[in-house]
Symmetry: C2
DNA sequence: GTATCATTGTGAATGATTTCACAAGCGATG
DNA sequence: CATCGCTTGTGAAATCATTCACAATGATAC
């Protein structure tokens, strides 16, 4: 299969959201133009993105909402739930653990960890904060697919190494550091400082 | 001036971080190769990025750490502090408001808002949660440059419109919706669900 | 059943970004 | 002061992503 760019995957994820909205609104079909309008892109872009995976539309009619929903869920691997662990139960970790939305989208939070004795044993909506020492065994036992890293920057590489050793192949890092992962492991970063600096650049350069 | 791509700005922000590390380690100079190694890119990329703004290096020697720090801070508009408001004092908003790191990087949090009467008046590290009704006046009075949107998806467009009307020209949105802003206003999105779906895609397609 | 309209799917063209490759510059060495 | 080793800055080339443009096709109207 062709190489799929990260931005194309991001857009598919957006289209999925628009399709869910269209479904909720009771629409039977949707055109590439409408998806483009909502996503701030062009209809040609939408069609190219979808054509990377197949021909899902009907000429003259657009795309069947339920059918395209099914296809995109399939493409994105959202046909089954994934097990997610949150590592770090500080304010950010706690905020992420309590997002009810993740569950609805197929990301099941199956464990939360922290190294602070004061936090261990606390229970948040059915989840008990586990000690750092339980990390390796629990990640394995619960077959955690995705680890969310919400620990301080200087602890991040350590927990990532342990998570990878415990079989985790996808990580979402919130610590403001560049982490190293071996080939075969996917790492994405959410770096709020970086985003703020991007906004600063725009402000300082009158870009808009 | 040439058009600067968003990815180039992201990388500059990263280089800034590496330079701060190098400074803390007492290094006088740093080469494009070293910056590239830390950033997971190539030395040519680093030099191209910097060359968009000038010639800061010495051939044979690399870049002076303090000088390049100064230049990049200048480019990114980090020579003066920006006023930031956090809109939404739920778990995420509270986590963001309490990040001590922002202050150190020149992003001064000057106000926090919420519409929940139970939260209004609560004080977090010197900041008092203000009612929704105070939003417009306070954003203006405190000359807020950047608004961080941490409200539920269905409230997001509303607060964005009000913030823009109150003179805010840069926004960082955490709500999982596509927001509209007028020309001249910069919007960046942090969408955790989108990132998780990207990881799901990688897992499902064995991309690693 | 033919004409009409809307919309897809996709090669070709364009535009943007990254990588290559190398001349030129700087400091250190003898 | 000539040479050497290292590293920058930058056109040219290569790669990657987006947009254009249009033939092909399904639905609908008459």
């Amino acid at each position: 299969m062709k190489k799929i760019s990260e931005s194309a995957v991001r857009r598919l994820s957006l289209y999925l959201r628009f399709l869910q909205e269209a479904e909720a609104a009771g629409n039977e079909t949707i055109s590439s133009g409408e998806l483009a309008r909502r996503g701030g892109t062009t209809s040609a872009q939408v069609r190219k993105d979808l054509s990377l995976f197949g021909s899902f539309g009907k000429r003259g009619m657009g795309y069947s909402v339920p059918e395209l929903l099914r296809e995109i869920r399939q493409i994105l691997g959202l046909t089954r739930p994934w097990n997610v662990a949150v590592i770090g139960a500080g304010r950010l970790g706690s905020a992420l653990s309590s997002f009810r939305d993740f569950e609805a989208r197929g990301f099941h939070i199956s464990a939360v960890f922290d190294s602070d004795p004061a936090k261990i044993g606390q229970s948040w909506g059915g989840l008990t904060v586990q000690p750092d020492e339980a990390l390796d065994a629990t990640l394995r036992e619960r077959r955690v697919d995705i680890a969310i890293v919400a620990v301080p920057a200087d602890a991040a590489q350590g927990v990532v190494d342990r998570a990878v050793a415990a079989g985790v192949r996808s990580l979402l890092n919130f610590a403001p550091v560049r982490l190293r992962v071996p080939r075969g492991v996917t790492l994405r970063n959410v770096d709020v400082t970086l985003e703020l600096e991007g906004l600063s650049f725009a402000l300082a350069n009158g870009k808009g």
